[in-house]
Amino acid sequence: MRPLTEEESKAVFTKLANYIGKNLIHLIDRQDEPYCFRLHKDRVYYVSESSMRLGISVARPNLVSLGTCFGKFSKTGKFKLHVTALDYLAQYAKYKVWIKPNGEMPFLYGNHVVKAHLGRITEDTPEHQGVVVFSMKDIPLGFGVTARSTVDTRKLDPTAIIVFHQAYVSSTVIRFLYSPTPSDVGEYLRDEDTLF
């Protein structure tokens, strides 16, 4: 466990900023308790400082996780967000997408969000913007990247993809063809082995 280097922080924060934009500041400057980012075995954890101090006494080989896992660095040095960061992303997300009940299960099985399933979307969402996907009951389900801007979606046909489920085309272990990268909570079921 160690603090992030300059480069690593940059990678992490750029990625996060794609979803929460300026709200990133709320993650770093918290009102309640100082929190910090820590790297442990390629994974980035977001943890309160008090927990982190206690966690120091656990030896490196024995420490499995602490606080919230935000994602991991790939071998090539790229940072990938994990669905475990969803709680914070959902809290601070700038752009949101709500999907209808009949679209929930397809999304949880790793499919993209099509227009027919789209319930609501934040006004003026640009193209290729990171968005957090909610159910109509405001339960955060995952996150992804928009395929089109809000304006463009109006003229699309119902089967067109609105949100790409795969936020990143990368080199994770692909266990299911329909789920190239984990970014929905269904991943807790499917990818438990690779997640942590």
Partner: protein, 685 residues
């Protein structure tokens, strides 16, 4: 879940497909039902009376029965009627008079609503259907067979069984269930409609089986050295007068050679053993000891439910005999599926609403928890709903709420969960802490920490540190916890309904090893607690086992080893008290503050919870006691000892040698070596 539960309940059926080999009576009844169906109403009551009258005489009528062999049944019946009237006070006298009517009434009111005119057919149905019933029902329904004496016990049994599953497992065969009411009434009507045809078909089958039965009867008779088959009634009489003959060791051996006993026989023998052990003085055969009956019962339990002998004995020692069988019976039925609301993300009412909308049938578990929900039936997989994945609830057995409730962690505390995977209790603790403070979730098994971490993240617990140590390393890694939960690794004898493999794969060695490990762990847990803690200083020890050597013995050990801990109330409103005495072992009286939970009583997994409070280590307490007691001992013997010591100060090696040698032998034995035979027995003398 409901569907699965039904399947599970149905499972025991194949065991009983065998035909009756025990009673001659049935064969005869089948035969006569074949010949004359309508006569039954008139023939049965006298027979009934005879049965029930003959029964009480069981112990002493055995030798005389042969002499009376020539008596005609009619004479017998005539004789018995006045007699049964006269000794009405004899336990089951009331059944003699109106036994049949009673039984049938019960059935009609209980089960077959509105059918009262078909009493005969009903009772016959019972008789014929009997072999197909599943085990639990068996105890309820075979009232008119040979049960008069055992009736009270079984009634208690039945009522309990009803209390229990009626809420949780709606069995369609259990007619008294509220929500199955209409269904069962329908069934009754259908049965009534084709009752005639069905009973006729059954009769035909019975006739065919009658011959088979006859043969089997011969076998049974041969076993008892009774070949008086010439008079059926007499044979009947015999059978009832000697309802139960405990097989001798030789007979059991023979039985084993013949490939094990018939399950029907075993079941009946178990019932009879329970009955006899309940009223041993009156019912036992002469010159048979109580232990013979218990041994037989344990052996039968082992073979009937498929336990190994060791475990069957160990578990049945925990309860009175009748309750023991209930326990084993309960282990065959799955416990209800329960979920715990994650209060970090939602509220129970909202969650229940969301799940009901998905077609899940559920209800709060009980008053003792405000986060638990019990799932009766679900049209969707309960472990893959969007709510589950979003971490709004956790699939968790009701029993695993208990240790956390007992621990009752307070916000801003530092809590350790020593054996935490898969994280049900850890996340519960984190929820009670409201994501403040810190929870250390430890598990020895690295592979299991994966699912632990996944659950921790899914449920949104942000204050959890997951680590993978052997629990015994713990005070060294880190101490100073406000509360420690030790859900110790155990034999799992409380969760046999979940994991049937426990029945056969646990031996004495496992229990010794486990309790050894548990004792080490509990001391580590105690040492990890900060006794100075302002809000806490508590330890909860729990296991999912019911045996005493994993529970009370461990707790008692901890109390003896650590004088600064004491047991406190668990804060659980129900559960049985822990044993303070068990088979010659006497535990600390405060062990009664611990709580035991049983599948057959509380309808949750067998569980054990103990809560300790760690006090400051007071050096004074330890030193004050010793100086007071030890010098006193010396003082007493001092005068005499001083003189002796002065006489011969040196070692007497000759005298010491046998002791030394004995110690050496013991050391070798402890190492697993075989000591040489005692060379000089003279030393011993």
């Amino acid at each position: 879940m409901g569907r699965r539960a039904k399947n599970k309940q149905g499972a025991p059926e194949p065991l009983e497909k065998k035909t009756y080999s025990t009673s001659k009576k049935l064969g005869k009844r089948k035969a006569d039902s074949d010949s004359d169906l309508d006569d039954r109403a008139t023939t049965r009551p006298p027979k009934k009376i005879k049965d029930s009258k003959a029964k009480p005489r069981a112990p002493d009528s055995k030798p005389s029965s042969k002499a009376k062999g020539q008596n005609k049944s009619s004479v017998k019946t005539a004789k018995s009627i006045p007699k049964s009237d006269s000794d009405n006070d004899f336990g089951d006298g009331w059944e003699d008079v109106e036994g049949d009517v009673d039984v049938n009434d019960e059935f009609s009111s209980d089960e077959f609503q509105g059918i009262t005119n078909n009493l005969d057919d009903l009772s016959e149905e019972d008789d014929e259907d009997y072999p197909l019933r599943s085990t639990t029902q068996k105890f309820d329904f075979d009232t008119d067979e040979e049960e008069e004496g055992i009736q009270p016990v079984l009634k208690g049994n039945k009522s309990k069984q009803h209390e229990r599953p009626s809420k949780i497992i709606p069995t369609s065969s259990d007619g008294s269930d509220d929500f199955d009411y209409d269904e069962s009434a329908d069934e009754g009507r259908v049965t009534m409609a084709n009752m005639e045809a069905r009973s006729r078909a059954l009769d035909a089958k019975a006739a065919a089986e009658a011959e088979l039965d006859e043969e089997e009867l011969q076998g049974a008779v041969a076993r008892k050295d009774e070949d008086d088959d010439f008079d059926m009634d007499e044979a009947d009489e015999e059978n009832d007068a000697e309802p139960f003959h405990l097989p001798t060791a030789a007979e059991r051996e023979a039985e084993k050679h013949a490939g094990g006993p018939d399950l029907q026989v075993v079941q009946r023998r178990m019932r009879e053993c329970i009955r006899v052990l309940g009223k041993f003085k009156q019912l036992a055969e002469k010159d048979r000891s109580r232990s013979e009956y218990t041994d037989q019962l344990v052996a039968d339990i082992a073979s009937y439910y498929g336990y190994n002998d060791f475990l069957a004995e160990k578990l049945s020692q925990l309860f009175p005999v009748a309750e023991a069988v209930e326990f084993f019976e309960a282990n065959e039925v799955p416990r209800p599926v329960t979920i715990r609301t994650n209060t970090l993300k939602t509220r129970r009412r909202d969650l229940a609403q969301a799940l009901v909308n998905r077609g899940v049938n559920l209800e709060p578990i009980g008053k003792w928890t405000n986060v638990g929900l019990q799932v009766f039936e679900s049209s969707v997989p309960i472990g893959a709903t969007p709510e589950y994945l979003a971490g709004h609830y956790m699939l968790q057995a009701a029993s695993s709420f208990l240790p956390v409730i007992a621990l009752s962690p307070q916000p801003n505390e530092r809590v350790l969960d020593m054996a935490s995977a898969p994280g049900g209790k850890t996340t519960h603790i984190a929820a009670l802490l409201q994501n403040t403070g810190v929870v250390f979730a430890n598990d020895t098994n690295k592979a299991r920490t994966k699912s632990l971490t996944a659950n921790v993240h899914r449920l949104g617990c942000k204050n959890v540190v997951v680590c993978s140590y052997d629990g015994r390393e713990f005070p060294k890694v880190m101490g100073g916890f406000d509360r420690v939960l030790l859900d110790a690794p155990c034999s799992g004898t409380g969760v046999i309904s979940k994991d049937q493999s426990v029945k056969v794969n646990k031996s004495e060695r496992d229990f010794t090893m486990l309790s050894h490990l548990q004792k080490q762990l509990i001391l580590c847990a105690i040492d990890s607690v900060n006794p100075e803690s302002k809000t806490g200083g508590y330890i909860v020890y729990s296991t999912c086992s019911v045996t005493v050597d994993e529970n009370e013995a461990v707790v008692d050990y901890a109390l003896r080893k650590r004088p600064n801990v004491k047991l406190v109330e668990t804060g659980l409103s129900f559960g049985r008290e822990g044993y303070t005495k068990y088979r010659g072992k006497i535990f600390n009286p405060s062990v009664s503050l611990t709580r035991r939970f049983y599948p057959h009583v509380h309808n949750m997994d067998g569980f054990y919870v103990a809560k300790f409070k760690v006090e400051k280590r007071s050096k004074a307490a330890a030193t004050v006691e010793e100086p007071v007691t030890i010098p006193e001992k010396f003082v007493l013997g001092e005068e005499a000892a001083v003189e002796q010591v002065q006489e011969d100060v040196g070692f007497d090696s000759e005298e010491d040698r046998p002791y030394l040698e004995e110690a050496k032998r013991r050391r070798m034995k402890a190492k697993g070596l075989r000591p040489p035979p005692r060379s000089k027995p003279a030393h011993r003398a």
